[in-house]
Each structure stands twice: as C-alpha cells, then as structure tokens.
C-alpha cells in the first residue's frame, strides 16, 4: 500500500534552467493495486519512482508505504518494503556473484543480514523452486556467475529477486524497454504472473501504451509532473490505445502529438 500526498520535486533549483519534475502530486494505491504509468519523456514518471524508492528526496509532500512514513529514510532503509526492477537489465543483479548468491542477497532484503553462511541446502531448494517459475533453466545453473547470463535472463532474475520476499510495494521502471521484443514479452508475462500470484501492490512505468493497457487494474497518465488522466478498474477494461491518444489530445490540445510524445502505440 502506498500513499503519496502533495509530492513536489524540483531540479536545478533557483538556476535559470530550473525544472519542476513533480508538481503537487498525490496518489493512493490500495493493497493489491497494479497501477501503470504512461507519459511522454520528462513527464516525471521516473522521478516519481525515484522519490518513492528514496533514490531522490522530494522537496515537499509526504510518502507512506505500508503505513510507514518513509520521507526521512534513506534508500536502503526503505528497501525492506520495496522491490524494484530497473530499466537497465544489468542494474538489478550483481555480476560477480552466482545466481544462488544473488538470490541470497535478495532473500535478506527485509531482515538484518547475519554472519552465517548465506546459502544452505534448504535455501537452495527454495531458490530452485522459485527459479523454476521463470522456465529459463536457471534452477540448474545455481552456481553460474550472473555476469555470464544474457540481458533477458538477468532481467528475469532481477524481477524474481525483487518479488522474492513479498514486498509491500513493487516498483517497475520501464523494465522491459531495453530488451528485444521477444524478451520484453517474456518479462511482461512473468511480471503478470508474479504480481498475480502474490497479489503485489505495484507501480509500473512504461513507454508502451499497449503494455500499460494490458497490465494492471489502474492506469494513470502523467505530464509535466502532474497526473493528467486516471482510469479506474472499470474504465480501464474498456480502454484501448486510440482512446488514450484521444484523451491525451483532449487534455493537451490538438498539437499534442507533434509534441514529441514518444509513446509507442
């Protein structure tokens, strides 16, 4: 569960290229909500995710995750509630660690790390079972260094690791954008499956309108640091790409599409 109230974020403050990235933004996710966020470049989507995760500190407003006020907490301290997958397939895993060691790191996300061995027979069985869900045969390669895996495999592993310990909130930052279409489709399917199985509260940024429509139960559109359109569960079921484009035009005016929207249809 996530509650954002009046979140404000500025870059390059009090210089001539000051930019308001988030403008008084409020958003509430109920338990189990899966919200997809679309918007053109510079709309503030990634900034929003970075403020929630603690990578960036907001300039004003409050953020609550699972009923915990997190504004004063650093990124690593918030991470016990948050699972996160980055756009870069290399970003979510540690290349010189093996697959099982990466999973062990993920396994320790929501508790204090101990001075005991990170892997054990029981844990390994647990890891293997979890990896089977991916259907990438990684369960038989537990001691392979992650640096030798392909981008798609690493992103699938990142996704599994992020959802491994049932986070209160899952943040997906265009996590299929850097993959080829086949791999992107695989990761999209896995996302659907993992989120569904664990009923994870999820916030997903995407450039792909179709993906935003296919996944999740709510959809929001951002522009210039504000939420300009929101579709609830009922509306979203009827939604298609044409609708969304029209909606965007209505709000932004007819010149919207010449505005380098960069949304993939």
């Amino acid at each position: 569960m996530l509650t954002i109230r009046n979140l404000h974020k500025r870059f390059n403050e009090s210089s001539h290229d000051e930019k308001i990235a988030l403008h008084d933004l409020s958003l509430h996710l109920n338990d189990g909500d899966f919200v997809t966020i679309i918007g053109s470049n510079g709309a503030g989507k990634s900034t929003l995710l970075n403020c929630v995760s603690g990578t960036l500190q907001g300039d004003g407003g409050t953020i609550e995750i699972a009923r915990n006020q997190v504004d004063s907490l650093a990124e690593h301290a918030r991470a016990k509630w948050i699972g996160r997958v980055f756009q870069d397939p290399m970003a979510g895993t540690s290349p010189s660690l093996t697959i099982e060691e990466n999973l062990a790191v993920a396994h320790a996300r929501n508790r204090k790390r101990s001075w005991r061995f990170a892997t054990s027979k029981t844990k390994r069985d647990h890891f293997r079972a979890a990896l089977e869900v991916l259907h990438l045969n990684l369960e038989n390669r537990l001691t392979t260094k992650v640096g030798t895996l392909s981008g798609g495999e690493r992103q699938a592993l990142s996704l599994l690791m992020a959802t491994f310990t049932n986070p209160s909130l899952l943040l997906l930052d265009e996590h299929t954008a850097a993959l080829d279409p086949a791999r992107a489709e695989l990761i999209t399917q896995l996302t659907k499956q993992l989120v569904n199985d664990q009923q994870l509260t999820t916030l997903m940024v995407t450039h792909n309108m179709q993906q935003a429509i296919d996944l999740g139960n709510r959809l929001i559109m951002m522009d210039q640091g504000k939420i300009i359109y929101e579709a609830d569960a009922e509306t979203k079921k009827q939604l298609n790409v044409q609708h969304l484009l029209e909606e965007f035009k209505k709000i932004k005016g007819s010149h919207a599409l010449s505005d380098r929207m960069l949304l993939e249809v």
Binding site: H76, A79, L97, E101, V105, A118, M161
Partner: protein, 324 residues
C-alpha cells in the same frame, strides 16, 4: 641460496596476509585503498611497542589487528561520510598514520614523543616463543617457521573465504559490484564499505605485526610501497591462477605474494642490484604483470584472426576453382 629461498617463502607467506587485505579492498570492494602503506606500519609499531613494554606477543598482535581495523574505518568514514574521493581518503589516512606510528613507538621511551624504530632483538616474539616450542617437539628450525607462516596464512585465507560467503560478506561483495542493486536490497553501502576497509586494514596490520616480529624490528619507513607489493601479489596470483571463484583467488593471491618474494630474491642475486633497488624492481614487476597478460591476449587474438582469414582465403580459392 637455499636459506635465502626459504626466507623468501617465509616472508611471502606472511606478506600474503597483507595481500589478502589488498585483495579485499581493490578487488572485492573495488576501492583503491592506499591506507595500507600506513596501516602496515601501524600494525608493526603497535605490536613492537607493546612487546617492548612487556605485553605478551599474542596480545600485542591482536591489538595491532584492532588498531589497523580502526585506521581502515577512518579511511571509510572520510570517504562515505566526508564525501572525499577514495584515493585521497586513503592517502590522507596514510599520511596521518605516519605521525601516529611515530607516536605509538614513542610510548616506549619515557621522555620522547615520537620514535622512528623499535628493535626487538632481545624481546620475546610470537616467533621466538613458537620456535622454542617447536624445537622442544623436535621440529627443525629451518622448516618450523615456514610451517607456522603457512598455517597462519591458511587460517586467515579460510576465514576470509568463509566471511565472503556469509550474508554480510555477500552484501559486501555486491557493494563492490553493483551499489545500486545492493541498496535496493537494503544494503547500507556506506557501512559495508567502512566494514570492508576495516577488515582489510586489520589484515594488513596483522601482517605488519608479524613481519616486525619476524624481522625483529619495527621501522616507521617499513610500509613505503607496501600497497604496490600487495597489488603485485594480487595481479601475479590472478594472472597465474585465474579468478574463477573466491576460494581460488584468495589462494592465488597468497601464492602471488610468495612468487613476488622469490622473484625479488633471485633479482637481488644479480650483482649490480642493491637492496635499495627493491622498490624500482617492485614497480617493474607490477608494470610487467599489468602489461604482459593484456598483450599476450592481444597477440593470441591476432593469431587466431590470421588463422581464420587464411582459412577463408583457401575456402574462397577452392570455390573459384569449382566455378571455373
């Protein structure tokens, strides 16, 4: 000659502990830590000073480890809390330790503040206690010290291997590997970096404490170039034995340290070279170890390419013949 070789192996094994410390920062943590030149002497100075003041060599060695750990933590704080660049943090700590080391050794003299060296010729050391015990068991002195050093460095190596496989150890490795990732899994990269630097310099100080007792003196200048020696050991070891797994690399690093000492021992037998040329030799060895493997790889690739080209040429040739 044999005596010189045995001496080189003994020293190599003890310096191997220092090299493991350097491996922990340079490779595992990806932090080029130059504190080593200072913390090595800190270990030597602490142990020597305490031994001269009448403390047991075991206690003196243990305290040396702790003081080295604190020095590493200092470097870590400069970098993580002070935001100072890693190299500069290490250099600052190293230069600060120079004065601190003089002070530590100064404690042994009543009306002096600092002292540049402490001889341990008449004092009980870990080695003198151990050799007395070993001779009483009938182990000859020539091999007893090698045995001691080998067991000691093996214990340290295994402990380091084990630590790097614990949950904290994995987080530390991930910190050197991918900071963004480990933060997203609740890893406090600052704390982990400080811990890694502390452990590394604890090992370096242990090595210094042992070398001081082995050579029967501590000197404020004995740490000069220590980081390069550590790096040489790491690079030589990795080049010869590869980096497949942690267990293998830590072994490689220790063997690298021994090989470095052996190379040095042989080089010093060349007539026109003097002990004062040791640092120049060290630098030359590191330069070679850094350049040669890369160049060898290039040549290999070039040869492979040539072979492939010549193959495709003959293939093309036969095709032409067929066409005609």
């Amino acid at each position: 000659m044999v005596g010189a070789l045995i001496g080189a192996v003994e020293q190599g094994l003890i310096y191997g502990i220092m090299a493991l410390g350097v491996y922990l920062t340079f490779r595992v943590l990806d932090f080029p830590d130059l504190t080593v030149d200072g913390s090595f002497v800190t270990g030597a100075a602490t142990a020597a000073a305490m031994i001269v003041m009448g403390y047991s060599p075991v206690l003196a060695t243990l305290v040396a480890i702790v003081v080295g750990f604190v020095a590493g933590v200092g470097t870590g704080l400069l970098h993580t809390k002070g935001g100072i660049n890693p190299l500069l943090s290490g250099i600052l700590m190293m230069i600060a330790l120079y004065s601190i080391n003089l002070r530590i050794m100064g404690w042994t003299v009543e009306n002096a503040v600092g002292r540049p060296n402490i001889p341990l010729l008449q004092s009980e050391t870990l080695f003198s206690q151990y050799t007395a015990w070993a001779t009483s068991l009938g182990i000859p002195v020539e091999i007893s010290i090698i045995l001691f050093a080998a067991v000691g460095v093996t214990v340290v190596k295994l402990a380091l291997d084990a630590f790097l496989k614990t949950e904290v150890g994995l987080a530390l490795r991930a910190t050197g590997d991918n900071k963004r990732m480990i933060r997203s899994f609740s890893g406090n990269t600052s704390t982990l970096t400080i811990l890694g630097l502390g452990l590394s310099n604890g090992l370096v100080a242990l090595s210094g404490a042992l070398i001081a007792q082995y050579g029967k003196f501590a000197d404020v200048g004995m740490g000069i170039g220590m980081i390069v020696i550590g790096l040489a050991s790491v690079i030589i070891g990795e080049a010869l034995f590869g980096t497949k797994s942690i267990v293998r690399v830590t072994l490689a690093v220790v063997i690298g340290a021994v090989i470095y000492r052996l190379v040095l021992a042989f080089a010093l037998r060349i007539e026109f070279l003097d002990t004062g040329d040791m640092k120049l030799l060290t630098a030359a060895i590191v330069v070679l170890a850094l350049i040669v493997p890369g160049k060898l790889g290039e040549t290999k690739k070039r040869l492979a390419r040539k072979r492939l080209q010549s193959k495709s040429v003959t293939k093309g040739g036969t095709e032409l013949v067929n066409h005609s």
